[in-house]
């Protein structure tokens, strides 16, 4: 049953990715080159809606938030490495399969590369666990916890900030 939920959720998400036109190389590189903010609009809209909804359900006791530890070594170094690879590939792990499904078959080489990359990381993991993943481990932190205030004071700030950014994008025609 849980596998069917995964499939159905993916179908909805893939449909919206394609409709939002965010899976194209030109859109992804457009964002990296600060020329076209389409994917940032999509991602940030997603985050703002999901942030408010998931926290609300969490407060009602209907969902349980899943946290990942904040390890600066892994996040910063991993982020930089991912960014370099993303610049070459022009697709994300999730969007690559969606891009393939709208006929962009260069994504297939990226998918094969990412499978190999996953295998390479599995080999490197013991080394990473002893080095990079021990640097700056702050554990399970969140912004509200760090500031010691209720998350409903933080969420509106993010929403207002996001909407202001959208307004600026539209004004600049990005």
């Amino acid at each position: 049953m849980i596998l069917l939920y995964g499939l159905f959720t993916g179908i909805l998400f893939g449909f919206l990715l394609q409709k939002g036109r965010v899976i194209r190389y030109d859109k992804q590189l457009g964002a990296l080159r600060l020329m076209d903010m389409t994917i940032v609009k999509f991602m940030l809209s997603h985050i703002l809606v999901a942030m408010a909804g998931v926290y609300l359900l969490n407060d009602l006791g209907l969902v349980k938030l899943v946290f990942k530890p904040t390890i600066l070594g892994g996040v910063i170094l991993g982020g930089v490495i991912f960014g370099i690879g993303w610049g070459f590939l022009g697709y994300c792990p999730g969007t690559s399969v969606a891009a393939l499904a709208e006929g962009r078959w260069d994504a297939l080489w990226g998918i094969l590369g990412m499978l190999l990359g996953g295998a390479v990381y599995a080999e490197a993991f013991p080394l990473m666990a002893e080095t990079v993943l021990t640097w700056g481990n702050y554990g399970y932190i969140t912004i509200p916890k760090m500031l010691g205030i209720n998350h409903w004071l933080i969420i509106p700030v993010f929403i207002i900030g996001g909407l202001a950014l959208f307004k600026w994008f539209e004004k600049k025609g990005l």
């Binding site: 596998l3 939920y5 995964g6 499939l7 959720t9 993916g10 179908i11 909805l12 998400f13 893939g14 449909f15 919206l16 990715l17 394609q18 409709k19 939002g20 036109r21 899976i23 194209r24 030109d26 457009g30 389409t38 609009k41 940030l44 809209s45 997603h46 809606v49 909804g53 359900l57 969902v63 990942k68 390890i71 170094l77 991993g78 490495i81 991912f82 690879g85 610049g87 070459f88 590939l89 022009g90 792990p93 999730g94 499904a101 709208e102 006929g103 962009r104 078959w105 260069d106 080489w109 998918i111 590369g113 990412m114 499978l115 996953g118 295998a119 390479v120 599995a122 080999e123 013991p126």
Partner: protein, 132 residues
């Protein structure tokens, strides 16, 4: 950037609706959306065919067992969902060299494929290191 055949939805609308997908997925299935772990699981499933003993002993494949789970099905779903959207809106196009790439690096599909392959290796290594 927008041409006549480039019909779609506002990225704000599509993004916000996909945010609702996350909310309902968390509520109904208890799963949040993610993609890169599946590349590790599938890579492990392929490696298992070649050398199952080696995979069994690897720390990362103990942590992420190489089998089909919620997220692998989610990735398959993304392919189907995008295929439905692209074929019903007639925006499906066979294309192996993106426009922006062609303008800068030329028509060679081999060159593009090589960059995509190498980029994929690097991107996935970084994504897993950042645990994203």
């Amino acid at each position: 950037m927008r041409t006549i055949e480039d019909k779609g939805w506002s990225p704000y609308l599509a993004g916000a609706l996909s945010g609702l997908v996350t909310i309902f997925s968390a509520l109904i299935a208890g799963h949040f959306l993610g993609a890169s772990t599946s590349f590790v699981r599938v890579a492990g499933m392929i490696e298992k065919i070649v050398d199952p003993e080696k995979v069994k002993g690897m720390q990362y494949f103990v942590k992420f067992v190489p089998q089909v789970d919620w997220q692998v099905m989610f990735i398959i779903g993304i392919f189907i969902g995008s295929l439905i959207a692209s074929t019903t809106s007639k925006t499906f196009r066979f294309n192996g060299v993106p426009d922006m790439w062609e303008t800068r690096f030329g028509k060679s599909a081999v060159k593009r494929g090589l960059a995509a392959f190498i980029g994929g290796i690097i991107a996935m290594f970084g994504a897993r290191l950042a645990d994203g």
